[in-house]
Symmetry: C2
Subunit: 312 residues, 2 copies
């Protein structure tokens, strides 16, 4: 598993060495750090860890496009202050009244759609939309080095999960194409669904209400246990919203590796400190990582390439 | 996939033919009924479908053993009417005051344990406990023909999930050993967990509260969507609590197969109509199955053997 031809988009040394050493250690039979395949579980945050989240979350662009269409057809909706702020791109103003009114509006856009209709709508958007700076389709905005890491882990008998603060059905719509992760291995924020019978068919209809908590911060390890049922031994994140997940990963009884992607590459991507969507005042993840000895993945220094073909 | 050496514990004809025909149809490329591997999802109820649920649910035996130990150490607990009824085996009396007081007591037994401690406790019970009639360990109380069906489906590129009304962490403790189903492919009823830091370690601690609804009836398809995100094309159940799941499976746009295990073998197992745990008055599943054209699996007629080695 330490074949140096692996992880070709990673520069030698640094994070790449830490990853290859870890994988070699936990897969070497009859050594103290060997981890049976059943416990080889890896979890990856999505926004800013597996794909580009700037200038804003892809899902926000998807929702704003839907909101603009809805507002064009509904004057009352268009005149609500939170809608005006959202459509003007003023996220701070939109959040001014708290997260709930904003979420109500955003979740309302697809309320009434069946789960299958929503998936089709998200897939159409992914085919159509282009990144405002890089010009490529969002299907190409996944980080190539992270895709290679997922492949390496699967080849080493890891089960790989995406654990996103984003909407689970949005990410599932493309997770297999983008990451080779089937929908059932995506954990995320979810809306309530309602079972209806339409013409004798059972359909599941979206409601405008979040199911439980948004999957950021402390909810992440809880969602991991609810969905996976095994404490992961490898985790990767990029923001304060991933702190508890990485603490959970790195405080178990088995060897573990916690990775923090640092956005320090203004030229090829963006330079910013990843903050938590639900708790903007949380400690920067870089400080937590330094204190707890997690492995920093510098986009600038550790990655030879950032994106896939077609994007520099 | 129609190799007749498959499903050796199934008698020829009947349900076996329906299963082999279905698998052959959906896996034959370039035919109208071909289903891509991404959509080959199969869901199985557990109690009474994959393992024996009589004279009572294995989990009930596990909980009652724990309750007896707790009651021996706590006189106040022992004297509560619901506890006395439970320990006397009088389920009707225990449910007399509704499901909630009974669940509070049963969920209270393991409250305060970490997820990992609970799993260890369940595994120890599975090693120790013996079925009251058959005398074998519960690890041998899985239905051999269903195990063969799971294998056939996996060999045909199906992803196989257990969707149980039972406690998800209880079933996960043995799902891999019993069924070859890893913990992350088990969906079930769950308790709330709380994130705690103990000596710098993050642990997830069980609370005595059900998280959401028990996974029976209409919640089953909702849980399937929440966890899997794909409408299954094959489902198996045995009780009225599986009705909505099987309706969901059988009312999608793709070819589908809904199986209902009928307990009609008093000699080798039990003869009873599977009822819903949460709605005892629901229509018997056999009537629903006949009306909707689902496939009945008769234990007496369709299965050459019922259990694995060591049990007749």
């Amino acid at each position: 598993m330490t074949d140096p031809s692996r992880l070709p988009s990673w520069r030698r040394g640094g994070a790449r060495t830490a990853i290859l050493d870890f994988v070699a250690r936990v897969t070497a039979p009859d050594t103290p750090d060997f981890v049976p395949a059943a416990d080889r579980v890896a979890v990856f945050d999505n926004d800013g860890t597996l794909w580009c989240e700037r200038p804003t979350y892809p899902q926000a662009l998807f929702l704003l496009e839907g909101l603009a269409a809805a507002a064009a057809a509904d004057r009352d909706l268009a005149e609500r202050p939170v809608v005006r702020a959202l459509l003007a791109g003023d996220l701070d103003a939109a959040r001014g009244a708290g997260l709930s009114p904003m979420l109500d509006v955003l979740l309302g856009i697809h309320a009434g759609l069946t789960a299958e209709e929503f998936t089709a709508s998200a897939r159409q958007w992914f085919e159509r939309a282009r990144h405002p700076r890089f010009g490529g389709p969002f299907g190409g905005m996944g980080y190539r080095p992270m895709g290679e890491l997922l492949d390496l882990l699967r080849a080493s008998d890891f089960r790989v999960f995406v654990v996103t603060g984003g909407g689970v059905e949005f990410v599932r719509a493309v997770s297999d194409d983008l990451y080779g992760v089937p929908p059932d291995d995506v954990v995320g924020s979810a809306v309530e669904l309602e079972l209806e019978r339409r013409d004798g068919r059972v359909v599941l209809v979206r409601r405008a209400t979040l199911l439980g908590n948004a999957n950021e911060g402390p909810p992440k390890p809880l969602a991991i246990q609810a969905h996976i049922g095994v404490r992961p031994i490898l985790g990767a994140g990029n923001s304060a919203g991933d702190r508890e997940m990485l603490e959970y990963v790195s405080s178990g009884p088995l060897p573990s590796l916690a990775l923090v992607v640092e956005h320090d590459d203004q030229v090829r991507e963006y330079a910013y400190a990843g903050s938590s969507f639900t708790d903007p005042d949380a400690e920067p993840i870089r400080e937590t990582a330094d204190r707890l000895g997690w492995t920093i993945v510098s986009m600038r220094d550790d990655w030879g390439r950032v994106f896939g073909p077609g994007i520099p």
